[in-house]
Amino acid sequence: MAEERSFEIQLARSQQTYTIPADKSIIDVLYENGINHPISCEQGICGTCIVKVLAGEPDHRDSILTDDERNREGQFTPCCSRAFSERLVLDI
């Protein structure tokens, strides 16, 4: 497993920005900040947490999204996926 890096997310609806450290998931940080985004399997299988990426370059780690869903529809699983870019803007 390559070493993870930290990045930022911005929530489009509240305009809040959070830093995701290397050892935490997006969902971890959302929960720490009182944002109860729906989750279930925590490993990119069930699709419960899917959100839309509005900007940035996602690093998809799920096992269920098709290329079309990732690239054209912008679907993303914040439970396990991360970012290649410094910042991701999510439709939350």
Binding site: S40, C41, I45, C46, G47, S63, I64, T66, D67, D68
Partner: protein, 342 residues
């Protein structure tokens, strides 16, 4: 989650004769029968006169006759005869369902008849290829939602627990570490599993004794909403699958799940023998072995459905191995969404 604008298997072609058969499909009572000319028909199983089931009727030269008051209906659902009456009201008709005979199955369409496109019926040429793939087919009613059997078929990790004495037969770890390749298709998914240097499961060994370890494959294609096409087999470990001779095991299974109600379905399947094609006993052997496995699945999924009826599914948490079934369900959901955009 029942997709209406889709083809489902209503029956094996050889199940349906001039003697009407009642079968509830997609929550609607259907009567299936053949005319005296041999054409297969599907009508709503309720006479337009007083509602009696047409499946209690008799097929005559003019059509199916309701055995309550003798009205006769053609394959198009229109009433063609009312005893002792000259007028046949235009409204005296029953719903008819497009029904197509293909690959030894009768395919029914429940949605808008205008949209019934026969090219959407999956191809399965093996049923008619008796020389290379002799097969046996059957149907089993199962008291579970039809997609729970799709889940079951696409989840190999249950093999070791539900089927240790039949198709599983390996330590759970063999199934857990199998090399899986999962791809989305336009209308479903493809899943291939490869297990190298694995012990042959009891079914394989009962059919074709293998002296040692084998390389196994299991290829599944799910076609939304309700079909799984399986090709499984094994050759002696290290041999080339394309060229290896006996001992080898080659089995094709066609699985079609037809919703009966929201919590019950009909499981149509066929098992075909590709390794000992001139030996009917080998075809029988696969059939009897797979039957054991299906009976094992039925016990589990029916008990599972009872719990789901009681507690729902929203609280259930997926495992890593659930990716194929989740993708399959997403493909069905997408198909539904395309049909009902709101």
């Amino acid at each position: 989650m029942i997709v209406r604008n889709a083809w489902y298997v209503a029956a094996w072609a050889d199940e349906i004769t001039e003697k009407p058969v009642a079968r509830r499909i997609c929550n609607e009572p259907i009567v299936l029968y053949r005319t005296l000319d041999g054409a297969a028909c599907a009508l709503l199983d309720s006479c337009s006169h007083r509602g009696a089931p047409l499946s209690l009727g008799t097929v005559t030269e003019k059509g199916i006759r309701c055995n309550y008051h003798g009205l006769v209906f053609g394959c198009d659902g229109a009433c063609v005869e009312i005893p002792n009456q000259d007028i046949i009201p235009k409204k005296a008709r029953v719903a008819r369902y497009p029904l197509v005979e293909k690959d030894q199955m009768l395919w029914i369409w429940h949605g808008d008849p205008e949209k019934a496109d026969e090219s959407m019926i999956p191809d399965y040429p093996f049923h008619d290829d008796r020389e290379n793939w002799p097969h046996i087919h059957d149907m089993m009613p199962v008291k579970c939602h039809y997609l729970m059997l799709v889940d079951n078929l696409l989840d190999a990790t249950h093999l070791a627990y539900v089927h240790p004495a039949s198709v599983g037969g390996s330590a759970p770890s063999v199934h857990m570490v199998a090399k899986n390749v999962l791809d989305a298709t336009d209308n479903g998914i493809k899943l291939s599993r490869q297990m190298s240097n694995a012990p042959a499961p009891p079914v394989y060994n009962n059919c074709v004794p293998f002296p040692g370890m084998i390389d196994r494959w299991q290829n599944f294609e799910f076609i939304a909403p309700a079909f799984v096409i399986q090709y499984s087999g094994g050759v002696e470990a290290g041999k080339d699958r394309a060229t290896a001779g006996a001992p080898r095991f080659d089995m094709r299974i066609f699985h079609a799940l037809t919703p009966e109600t929201d919590t019950s379905c009909f499981y149509f399947w066929s098992t075909a023998n590709g390794h000992e094609t001139d030996n009917p006993a080998a075809t029988d052997m696969i059939d009897s072995e797979i039957r054991k496995a299906l009976a094992e699945d039925k016990v589990m999924v029916e008990a599972q459905q009872e719990r789901i009826n009681e507690f729902g599914e929203d609280w259930l948490v997926d495992n890593k191995a659930d990716a194929p079934r989740v993708m399959a369900r997403r493909a069905v959901a997408k198909m539904m969404q395309r049909q009902n955009p709101d």
